[in-house]
Amino acid sequence: MAPTRSSQADTLSTEDNAPTALVQAAPLAHCESCGRFIGPYSRCPYCGARTTGRLALRTVKWVAVSLATLGMVVLWWLARSVEIPTITVEEATRLMNFGYVRLNGRVVRSPTYDAESGYLGFWVADETGEVYISAYREVTEDLLTQNVVPAVGDKVTVAGTLRIRDDHIALTLNVPDHLTLERPEAVPLQAGDVTILDEGSRVRLVGEVRRVYEPYEGLTLITLADESGEVVVAVDEEVTTLTGSVPETGVGQALAIEGTVNLYHDTPQVVPASGDDITIVATPIATATLPALTLDRLSADLIGTKVGVHGRVVWLEGIKGGVKATLDDGTAQVTLLLWDDVHRALPAPEELDVGAEVEVTGKISIYEGELEIVPSKATDVTISVPAEAAPWVEISTLTPGDAGRLIRIRGVLGEPKGFSAGVKAPLDDGTGALDLLFWSSLYEDLTPTPHAGQQVEATGILNVFRDELELVPRSRYDWRVRSPDD
C-alpha cells in the first residue's frame, strides 16, 4: 500500500524547519509487526499494521494552539485582576527593577520641566525615603492638559515602572491616570508665625513685598512682610512655565500668597504650587514696627525673626552677591549682610564703610555658625553717621606688615590680566606699583571696565600673595575712574 499524504501529516517529523529532517532512524521508525523501516507513517505501508506509541501531531498542534490562545486569555484575565502592589520607598530593592508598583508620599521638591523634550520630573518622599518620578512627553502633555501638575507639599499616589540605578531610585510614570494629587487646603497664617514646624503645611499669607531678589536665573525670592514679621516666598521658573505666570511684583506691593512651607538650610520659606497662588491685593498691609535690641541679646532663638539694631561698622568685606559688614554696639558684634540689590539701593552706598554708624532692621539668620542680620530692603538701613574715606597712601610706604589694612590709593592702571578666579591689574602711583585684584563677580560689575592707562582711585584691603602686595576692592564703590575735571 502506497503511503498517502494524509498519513504523513498525522505524525511529526517532516515539517518545514524541523530539526528532525536529518535524524537517524529511531527504534519507532520501524514497523513493530514486520520490522521494516516505515519512517513517520502511523500505519505500516508494507503490512498495514498500525504503529503504537506515537503521539498524533494533530493533538500536539491543538494543545499548542490552545495554550497559546486560551492560555493567553486566562493570563490576560489574571493580569487584569492583579492589583498594582503598593510599596514604600525603603521596600524598593534592586530585585524589583522594572516592577510596576505604586507609592504614596508627598512632593518634596519643585518639579523640573524641559519644554523641548517634554520631560517632567519631581521628587516624592514617604517616611522611609525619596524617589524620583519622571514622565516623558506624551504623559507630560496629558498631565498638563488635565492640569495635574505636582507641587511641593502635594500628597501623591503614583504608579509606574521602578528603575533602580546605583543608589538612585526612580519611577517612570507611564500612564497619566496613575498619578493622583491631593493639595491640602491652605491655612491662613501670618508671615512671622511661619516656623520650621510648619514644614509641609500649605499656608495662606497676606503681606507687603519687601524685596524681590533673583539669586540665580530661574528662581525669584520675594520677601513678604506683615505686622508679625517676614517670610521668603520662593517662586521657581518651572512652576510658572508649567502653570502660568505670576503677577508682576515690586517692593511695596500687597500680595496674597498660598503655598507650602519648605525648608532652605533650616530657614522656612513658602513655595507656591502655581501662578494662581499669587494674587495682588488692593488693601495696604500693616507691617511691624520693631523695638531696637542690643547686639548681645541676639541669639539663635531669634532665627527667622525680624529685629532692629544699631551699631558701628568695624569691618567691611566683599562677598559674592553683596557685602558683609561687622556691626559693633559695645555689647557684642554681629554680621550685617547686605545683598547687592539692598546695598546699591542705599542713598549713599559708599558711606557704609568702616566707621559708619547705622540703624538696621533685618531678619536674623545663621551662616556657618555665625549670626547674621539681613535687611530685605534699602529702607531697612539708615546711616546715621557716614564713614570717613580711608586715608590716601603712597605705595612706596606700604610693607607686608600692612596686610589687612583698609587703604586708598590712586595711580595709573596697567594692562589687566585674567586668572582662574578674576582679574589682576597693576597700579602705579609714581612711588611704586602693586596689583589690584578683582574677583570675577566684582570685575563683571565694574563701570567703566578697567583698562590700561586709566587714572583710577581704589580702596580695599591690602593683601600679600607670594610676597607681593595686592589691593582687593570689596565692592563697585571701592573703584573710581578719575575724570579730567578731578
Binding site: A79, R94, L95, N97, Y100
Partner: protein
C-alpha cells in the same frame, strides 16, 4: 586594573561551567549574585562585581553555544544557531559547530577591542543622531522580520483553498506568533502577574517558553537520536567565509547592541541578509560574532565615557551598583572582556568535547527530559506557579512556528511589539484598550 581583569577571568570560568546547564541564562546567575551581594552575606566591591559580571557575560556569550547545539536549549540570541547547529550535531559534527561559532566570537571580540579607541568619540554622537529615530527603526525591523517570510508549499494540493493554505500557512503562523507573543509582552510589561519582588525576572518565563521549551518538545516528539560525535582537528571553512561571516555578524551584533530590544540573533539575521550570506558555516561564524558583540559589546557600551548606555539585562543589573566614569575604566573593561572571552573560547572547546561525549552516551530523550526539568525548576523556583503558567502559554506560542513552518524569531514580538508601541507613543493606548491600565 589587574585585579579587575582577574575578576573578569573568574567570571568567564564560572560562566563556562554554568553555560552547560540548559536555559540557565547568565542573567539569572547574575541576579542571584546580586541577591547575595544585596543580603550582605558576601562583601564585594562594586567595581569587582561589575567586572565579575563582565566576565560572566563574556563567558556565557561563548559558552551558551554548547546547550544550544548539543541540548537544543537556546536563549533568544542562539535561536538562529540551533537549526544549522543541529544539522551539524546529527552529522556527528557538533564540536565543529561549536568551534565555528566560537571562532566568530573571537573575531567579534577583536573588533570590539579595535573599536575601543574611537568608541568614546563616535558612539555618543551616533546615539544623539539615532535617539529620535529609534521608534521607526524598530518598526522597520519588525516589518522586515514579518515581510521576509515568503509563501511556501508546492502548489500541488487538490483544491484552491488547500493550495492557498500550503502557501500561506507559514506566513500566517509567523504573524500569529508575532501577534500572540506581542500580546504576551504587553501583558508582562504593563501588568505582570509575576510577584513584584522578582520583577527583574519578569520576562524570563516567557523567554524560556518561547525559545527553549519548544526545541525540547520537538526533540521529545521527534525521538531524535544523536550519532557518535567526531572531534575535528580542523574546521571545514575557508578564511574567506570566516571574513564574510564575521563581517556580517559584527555588523549585526553592533546593530543589536546599540539598538534597544534587538537581539544578537535578529541583528545577525538582518546583517546576513544584507551581506547575501548563504553558507551554513559562514552563518555559524556570523551568529557567533553577532552574539558576542551583542552581549559583550552591549555591556561595554555602559562603560563608554559620556555614553553610559544601558543595553541588555546585564548592563541594567550592573548599573544598580556601579557607574563607571573614566576612560581608564572603559579600557580596563575592554581588556577584561577580551581576556575573559578568549579564555571562555578555549574552555568552550574543552566543554564541547565533554558535551559531545555526553550526548553520544546518554540517550537524547533523557537529556531532553533532564533539560526540561531544569528549565521548569529554574522558572518555577524564581517566579513560582505564575511563572510556570506564563511559560506554558509562551511554549504554546513558541510551538506555532515549529508546527507551521514559520521563523521562531517571530516570537521576539514579546519585546519588539510593546517597546515599538511605547516608542511611537501608542503603547499605553493599546494597553488601555486591553484593560491593562485599570
Amino acid at each position: 586594573m589587574i585585579e579587575s581583569i582577574m575578576w573578569a577571568l573568574a567570571g568567564a570560568v564560572a560562566a563556562s561551567m554554568l553555560a552547560w546547564i540548559p536555559a540557565l541564562h547568565i542573567y539569572n546567575v547574575a541576579a542571584l549574585l546580586l541577591l547575595i551581594a544585596e543580603s550582605g552575606a558576601v562583601s564585594i566591591e562594586a567595581e569587582s562585581l561589575a567586572f565579575l559580571f563582565l566576565g560572566l557575560v563574556s563567558g556565557y556569550a561563548m559558552g551558551n553555544t554548547i546547550p544550544g547545539i548539543f541540548f537544543a536549549a537556546p536563549d533568544e540570541s542562539m535561536i538562529f544557531v540551533v537549526l544549522p547547529g543541529q544539522k551539524y550535531l546529527l552529522q556527528g559534527r557538533g564540536f565543529e559547530a561549536v568551534a565555528l561559532t566560537g571562532l566568530g566570537g573571537v573575531v567579534g571580540l577583536s573588533v570590539l577591542v579595535a573599536l575601543a579607541p574611537v568608541a568614546s568619540r563616535t558612539l555618543p554622537a551616533l546615539r544623539e543622531i539615532l535617539q529620535p529615530h529609534l521608534g521607526w527603526i524598530l518598526w522597520t525591523i519588525i516589518a522586515y522580520l514579518l515581510l521576509s517570510e515568503w509563501p511556501k508549499g508546492t502548489g500541488r494540493a487538490p483544491t484552491g483553498w488547500q493550495r492557498w493554505w500550503d502557501g500561506w500557512r507559514s506566513l500566517l503562523a509567523g504573524l500569529a506568533t508575532f501577534t500572540l507573543s506581542g500580546l504576551l509582552g504587553m501583558i508582562l510589561m504593563h501588568r505582570s502577574p509575576v510577584r513584584v519582588d522578582v520583577a527583574f525576572q519578569n520576562l524570563m518565563p516567557a523567554f524560556v517558553g518561547l525559545f527553549a521549551v519548544p526545541w525540547i518538545v520537538t526533540n521529545l516528539l521527534g525521538r531524535v537520536s544523536v550519532p557518535r560525535q567526531t572531534i575535528a582537528r580542523s574546521l571545514d571553512i575557508a578564511w574567506g567565509d570566516v571574513v564574510q561571516g564575521a563581517t556580517s555578524g559584527v555588523l549585526g551584533g553592533l546593530f543589536a547592541a546599540f539598538l534597544p530590544v534587538v537581539t544578537g540573533g535578529i541583528g545577525g539575521f538582518v546583517a546576513g541578509h544584507a551581506t547575501a550570506q548563504r553558507d551554513d558555516r559562514a552563518f555559524l561564524v556570523a551568529q557567533g560574532a553577532a552574539k558576542i558583540v551583542y552581549y559583550v559589546g552591549g555591556l561595554l557600551l555602559f562603560f563608554v565615557p559620556g555614553l553610559h548606555l544601558t543595553r541588555g539585562g546585564m548592563a541594567w543589573m550592573v548599573s544598580t551598583r556601579y557607574t563607571p566614569y573614566t576612560p581608564a575604566q572603559y579600557y580596563a573593561a575592554t581588556a577584561g572582556a577580551l581576556a575573559a572571552g578568549v579564555l571562555a573560547f578555549l574552555m568552550s572547546l574543552w566543554t564541547a568535547r565533554l558535551a559531545a561525549a555526553v550526548v553520544s552516551r546518554i540517550p537524547y530523550r533523557i537529556l531532553s527530559c533532564a533539560t526540561l526539568a531544569i528549565l521548569m525548576l529554574v522558572v518555577g523556583g524564581v517566579t513560582g506557579p505564575v511563572g510556570l503558567a506564563i511559560c506554558a502559554v509562551a511554549t504554546g506560542i513558541g510551538l506555532i512556528p515549529v508546527f507551521w513552518g514559520a521563523r521562531r524569531m517571530n516570537a521576539m514580538g514579546v519585546l519588539l511589539l510593546p517597546i515599538a508601541l511605547n516608542m511611537s507613543g501608542t503603547g499605553h493606548a493599546v494597553a488601555g484598550f486591553l484593560g491593562l491600565l485599570n
